[in-house]
């Protein structure tokens, strides 16, 4: 009985981290001088539906961040792109920056518990942006 439940849980809970969660590909739609906005960040997420579930919880936990603009600014800031400019950045390199940031947050313990998942702060915010 428990085995079945565990399997179902595991399937439902397929919310892995950036290596699995972010959408790979080369079709990133920013050109020179483009700005990294909420829509672009959302487009990085492979499974927005599942991310939304976590995002909903995150926003409830941190009401001060419960706005797309706030979340976008916080993510951009954490990526070292405070003015949002993503000149000449490719999708792959942005993913790489995100991945490095998330790993770094795990490394220093900047993690947050969302619905039982222990996520890096930036990836939790990315989920919240999808909500």
């Amino acid at each position: 009985m428990r085995k079945t439940r565990r399997v179902v849980l595991a399937c439902l809970a397929c919310t892995p981290g950036l290596p699995l969660m972010l959408r790979a590909g080369s079709g990133f739609a920013t050109g020179d001088g483009g700005e990294l906005d909420a829509a672009m960040l959302r487009s990085l997420v492979a499974d927005p539906r599942r991310a939304r579930l976590l995002g909903y919880r995150y926003r409830a936990q941190f009401p001060a961040e419960d706005h797309p603009d706030v979340l976008t600014d916080l993510i951009r800031s954490s990526l070292g792109l405070p003015d949002g400019r993503v000149a000449a950045i490719t999708r792959a390199s942005l993913l790489s920056v995100l991945d490095a940031r998330v790993r770094s947050e795990f490394g220093v313990g900047n993690i947050v518990g969302v619905d039982g998942w222990l996520l890096a702060r930036t990836e939790a915010r990315l989920c919240a942006l999808c909500e």
């Binding site: 085995k3 565990r6 399937c11 892995p16 950036l18 790993r103 993690i111 222990l118 890096a120």
Partner: protein, 516 residues
């Protein structure tokens, strides 16, 4: 030589230099190592070569406090003792594990090396990287990481009664008395020396054993019971002048489904922390707190293992849980053998087992669960006492009151936070902690024990803080020693058997010197 004590003449007398009570891992190790030369060794075993229900009933007792496996099922009372259902996990304690012991890791190291061989391990190395392979390798933990890797090596497992039966039969100067139960420990009037042991058989035959030295090696619960029952001179029991006998009972809390991990399918890092075979040796990696973090955060020793979701993580590969109806149809001995040997055989057929598992349980790729076990600070309220119920030989039965560490859940949560950090930092995966608030499942519901009985005659140089001294001699009694995990003053997250064997060898060395 084996002798059935039931066939001895009434009021028989056994004379020896050393009389050992209990033929489990400690008693057999001690007897094998002591014999030789002109020494005369008597090894008393309550059971016979195989399981017997009437003898097993002598282990019956009462469990109060936290739930615990019935005492007459948790242990086995025949030649080889509880090693007859040992899973086989081995690892030597490290320096931090032995911090509260009267001696350090250097003292035990040479005995551990011998214990490796006695436990039939194929290697002496417990260095995780020595067991790394392309298919299964430990997480790469950087300098200053909060976690450290460890590895358990699995004994075949050694059934001491079977593996060393021929040795025991052939050993010069050694006699193993089967069906011989220790009934009472007689002392001089002052209670400072043992003068003999009263021995009884279930068929009514009775006798006496006399020796220069006596060693109780009857198990982590039974050693305390034997001392507490020996209340003819010292009314609170032998060695119990400071009310310590039976206290500080310890076992490993075991949480089989503490968290879910989602990682890449067939991750070699995930596979390392489950049972697997490397160069013919079954091993299992585990993760625990680094020494620095353990000290800084005052965390207990813990071990986190990882299993594919869907595998019976409650028992692991090494222990097939038989349906009760099937078990009841078989004798305990056959059931135990089947329970332990069949999964081990299957474990060696890795590909078919994986295939079956994938299909039988529809195991989703990349989903894993953790298993958590830990030590804890010794608690005097966690204890073994006696009831007023008498067993078939007229001895008072045991009452066990196992107390869980108060901060168990908090520490388990913290341990998983540390693991989640490492999984995220290394890009291996993500972790979700189970709780009734999030997943609807409370891991504590399935909390069990490691079936490791420790601490009831703890070792300490100060008689006010320990029942035995650093030589395993009962404080205040010149010729009574204790072997086994009941002398552990603290414990790590490991199966105690290998340390029991190492300590028995150390005690043997001491007794040899004393015998001259």
């Amino acid at each position: 030589m084996f002798v059935d004590a039931r066939t001895l003449p009434p009021k028989f007398i056994i004379d020896a230099d050393v009389c050992i009570v209990g033929a489990g891992a400690a008693g057999i190790t001690l007897a094998r190592d002591l014999c030789g030369g002109t020494r005369k060794i008597a090894l008393l075993e309550s059971g016979n070569f195989d399981f017997d229900a009437d003898t097993q009933k002598l282990y019956a007792g009462e469990v109060v406090g936290h739930a615990y496996t019935p005492l007459d099922r948790d242990r086995l009372r025949y030649l080889g003792g509880t090693t007859n259902h040992w899973q086989g996990s081995c690892r030597p304690f490290d320096a931090l594990d032995l911090a509260d012991w009267p001696f350090g890791v250097d003292e035990l190291a040479p005995f551990y090396r011998q214990a490796d061989d006695i436990c039939q391990l194929s290697s002496h190395t417990f260095e995780p990287m020595d067991w790394s392979s392309e298919e299964a390798r430990p997480l790469e933990l950087g300098e200053g990481a909060s976690l450290k890797n460890g590895v358990f090596l699995y004994s075949p497992p050694t059934r001491f009664g079977t593996a060393y039966r021929n040795d025991l039969a052939a050993a010069a100067g050694l006699t193993v008395y089967l069906n011989a139960n220790l009934l009472q420990i007689d002392t001089d009037d002052a209670g400072t020396g043992v003068s003999g042991l009263q021995v009884a058989c279930l068929n009514g035959n009775r006798g006496r054993a006399r020796a220069r030295f006596y060693v109780l090696a009857a198990g982590g619960i039974e050693n305390a019971r034997l001392l507490l029952n020996a209340d003819q001179v010292q009314k609170s029991g032998l060695g119990n002048q400071y009310d310590l006998v039976g206290r500080y009972f310890m076992d490993h809390p075991f949480v089989p489904l503490a968290a879910t991990i989602v990682a890449h399918a067939a991750s070699p890092q995930m596979r390392f922390y489950d049972h697997h075979v490397v160069r013919g040796q079954i091993i299992e990696g585990y993760l625990s707190a680094s020494d620095e973090v353990r000290r800084k955060e005052k965390l207990p020793p813990f071990a986190i293992g990882i299993r594919p979701a869907g595998v019976n993580v409650n028992e692991g590969v090494g222990n097939l849980r038989l349906p009760p109806a099937l078990r009841n149809m078989m004798s305990e001995n056959i059931a135990n053998r089947l329970t332990y040997y069949l999964p081990r055989l299957l474990n060696r057929m890795e590909t078919p087992v994986t295939w079956i598992n994938d299909r039988l349980w529809l195991n989703p790729p990349g989903a894993y669960t953790t298993v958590y076990t830990c030590g804890a600070d010794p608690d005097p309220a966690s204890r073994v006492t006696l009831t007023n119920t008498l067993d078939a030989l007229g001895m008072r039965e045991t009452r066990l009151d196992w107390r869980l560490p108060a901060d168990l859940e908090r520490n388990m949560h913290r341990a998983h936070e540390l693991l989640a950090q490492e999984l995220g930092r290394s890009g291996t995966g993500r972790l979700r902690i189970e709780s009734s608030a999030t997943t609807g499942y409370d891991p504590m519901e399935d909390l069990g024990e490691g079936h490791h009985h420790m601490g009831t005659t703890r070792m300490h140089d100060d008689p006010r803080r320990g029942v035995v001294d650093a030589d395993s001699r009962v404080h205040g009694i010149g010729n009574l020693f204790i072997a086994g995990s009941s002398v552990f003053p603290s414990y790590a997250c490991d199966d105690p058997t290998m340390t029991i064997v190492a300590l028995a060898l150390r005690l043997s060395s001491h007794l040899k010197s004393a015998l001259g």
